[in-house]
Amino acid sequence: MTQFAPLIPLCPLIGFLILGLLNKRLPKKAAGILASVTVLVSFIFSLNIFLSISGKSVVVPFLDWFSAGNLSVSFSFMLDPLSSLFLLIITGVGFLIHIYSIGYMHDDENSNIFFAYLNLFIFFMLLLVMGSSYLLMFVGWEGVGLCSYLLIGFWFKNNAYNNAAKKAFIVNRIGDLGFLLGMILIFMTFGSTNYTAVFSQAQQGYYPETSFTGNSVVTIITLLLFIGAIGKSAQIPLYTWLPDAMAGPTPVSALIHAATMVTAGIYMIARSSILYSLAPITMFVVALTGVVTALFAASIALAQNDIKKVLAYSTVSQLGYMFLGLGVGAFSSSVFHVLTHAFFKALLFLGAGSVIHGLSGEQDIRNMGGLRKKMPVTAITFLLASLAIAGIPPFAGFFSKDEILSAAYNYNKFFWLLGLIGSSMTAFYMFRLYFLVFHGEYRGKPDLHAHESPKVMTIPLIILAVLSTIGGFIGIPESLGGKSLIAGFLNPVFAYAQHNLLEMPSGSISELMLMAITVVVVIASIVYARNKYVVHKDLPVAEGLKMARIPTIIYHKYYVDEIYDILITKPLDRISEFLERVFDLKIIDGMVGAAGKLIQWVGGKLRLLQTGNVDFYLFAMVIGIVLMLFFKMR
């Protein structure tokens, strides 16, 4: 089956090419169907591979790309449990979102392009996870960044959206530089960027071409790669693009900025688990970044009023959990969380999209309320997803998040505590959102008749809702009597790394304790939210009214964007102006110009020496002779 692997990314690429080249000549319906079908085909292939892979790791060569000296890169694909799982997520969720988009985008004039972009995105994302080397991963990595840019700025007439798109791309690029340098250092250390070569050498502690010594080079490599991951997966300090990225159409948010692209960072670290396991310092940095981000983003989400913004910060926060998992060495738990998060976060976004669609573009939760009755399917699926993300057993999120938290507990109890606070916040803001949107009275424009979305949109919702509900069962931990299928499935990939890290003391009693604590805290948060927003009908303060200090800061997202603006963007502009106006034009070019002027000036003066008086000429001549003889006189 693996020989068909190249077809998996190629299908969406073909779809993209057809859509891109034909563009408006293709009927809208056909475009949507074509785009979906290509992804479906990929999904089928992926499923096939997923089922047949069973712990193997296969490299499928496809095409040579380039080589220079001992550096040689080819388009070859690596199929192993990790990549096949991601393939499944990408194509599966991707397919559902394609279908959903047919409905969501049906009245947009450029929908064909939209589908082309989506297909292109799927292509790059598949390349990212299938690539058998870091360089190919980087290709996909950058490619998804581009698609993200294109899709965020899909409504290109709106400059705010364009700014968001640009910001996403540029911030991503900051991370990409780290990735690039890390990749080069990998090449310099191991003489290759192919996973197999790199990992086998790393395992043997064999660093043939390095100028650094042993472990420190791995630390540097992993840190550099982690910078890449920070950018792509929206961690502190590069997370700011993701909330803004919500400018794009909602399916995009669901697909790219929740389910797939942003998890690329997780994938990368999971993929490099062997390297990371050799670099404890990096692991700590990862964990720390993850937990801080989780908490930080969750706190921002508490006070947001834009339905998609809440979800966006929630995504950032959840990604933080995943990094926490990675950092504490629970690689498979993180990947598990990626999977479940893909289900429920996609579902949340699609649900939000459905709401927005139903309310003709309204995004402010202060103008919603009581939609439960008008949009029952959306409401129910949204509730399920909220339960999943909040971590109520037995929904999907519970299992994955809990694994991470328990691993964190073993690693560092303080991290666990922070994680716990974060998850209580998660529960609170999610249900704040849910209650404000679906419960209470409708507060929006009176003439707007909210309606349930068409089937083509609701069916994906339902499917995802089912997955969000039962998806967790593949990872029931041993402490609950399960077998943790997913951990077993991924074991071949992470075995070395797990082995390499310290054996964690894990007692099932304490694990159960932790679960209980979490569940209690989460439920308490939900109850508090219900109390506040349903019983007391408390509403977020409207725009422009005075808030208490701390909520103000949170509402303004800790002013991070503004701080970046003052610290980086504005100074950069000013430096740019200064360099051109002063340094380039005045100093450097000024010196060149001054040399020219000086010569001109000297020329102007020198010609005055030509006085026209023969007297002077004769004098000059004789003095010349005198001087000449004088210097020759010895």
Binding site: W65, K157, I170, D573
Partner: protein
Amino acid sequence: MITLLLILIPLFSSLLILSVPARFAKIFAFAASFISFAVTLAVFISFPVSADYQYLIDYNWIPSLGIHFKVGIDGISILMVLLTTFLTPLIILSARNEDNHTPVFYALILFMEMALTGVFVSLDGFLFYIFWELALIPIYFICLLWGGVNRVNITIKFFIYTLTGSLFMLVALIILYLHTPNHTFDINDLYHAGRSLDSRMQGILFLFFILAFGIKMPIFPLHTWQPDTYTTAPAQGSMLLSGIMLKMGIYGAIRWLLPMLPEAVHEYSVYVMWFAIAGVVYASVIAITRSDMKRLIAYSSIAHVGLIAAGIFAFNIQGLQGGIVQMLSHGVNVCGLFFVADIIQNRTKTREIPLLGGIRSKAPMLATAFLIIMLGAVALPLTDGFVGEFLLINGVFHFSPYMAALGGLTIILGAVYMFRAYQRTALGETSQATDHFTDLTLTEKAVLIPLVIMVLFIGIFPQVFLNISEPAVVKLLSGY
């Protein structure tokens, strides 16, 4: 013989064109340059994977001085010639009828093509210098006669600036010549002569050469002629200058400097690289706030070339190969960008980015082409810029990781200014200037589509080019 043909076709057509009626001049010029391209392509396709010079011609030109008309093509030259002959027809095609181009204009372009080809195939130091200088004259006149405001001062500055460098190069070449045992300018003899010098002398010659090449490229801080000149030059002039001519500097360094003065390169290239890398950051930062499109592209070009310079002076295989492939892609990209700027200027009568906007809704094809070329410029993988930039950073990294990190900033800053420019021109609502923007005409398509295809082709199949140049680069590195 074919090498000679590559020089003679443009030369003779540049003379013949003056006798062609003015209205056929463009077609004639295009045909002539296209034939050149076809010939080059044939050579390229049949080019053997070998480190030796092919199609060697050695004619004793000035016997008493040991000057030969020696031309030949190796893996590096053929790529440069290919770039030249590929871009020239497009540049000719891009000339607009309404801009009052007389046959002289096309004659100058073809003459320029001849000189550039000559630079890339010369294997005799003197011949190389002659072609090097010859390339300067047509572009001077193109800029002087068809340029924009203040062209007189700017073109003379450009001319003297570049001539300064090249005269010092001439001095260096003569010194090398005088050190050859039997007084010849043959490249191999010059190599031997250069290598046999003591390190102090090598250092002096290195300085002389670097002046010439550094000004032509240009490397910070020798670059100040460049933004003005690119801005003032007519679109075709900018395309020639940035697309092909600045490659002369890089090619010159690869062919005539690096293998020739190994000790000096070893000792001093680190300074050159620091300047180049500083230029990358410097020019990128400046590009961020430029409002004149051509000026922005000009600064972006300095940044890109800075990285190429740093890469080749790292003098390892990744750096050199990256430099070579990046030369191709930079040529394609920058030509594309200048042409886009020209189209915009032609439609809106302005190049001021703040006055533009919304072009994408009026001219989706243009916007798409612009986008793809821009992606090439910001080195997105699978576009042409990536492979080169990756290899270059790789090469620099070998030399100094910090330099690589600093040079790598280009991928961030490049994205900043390019995306900013793209957004303000192509995206958003239309402005007064762009309200009546029309999409590409047939001719414009004929120029842009090949460029766009090349952007993707080089990005996806760079090995086609890298394979050809690799033996030659290995030979250079091994210092035969």
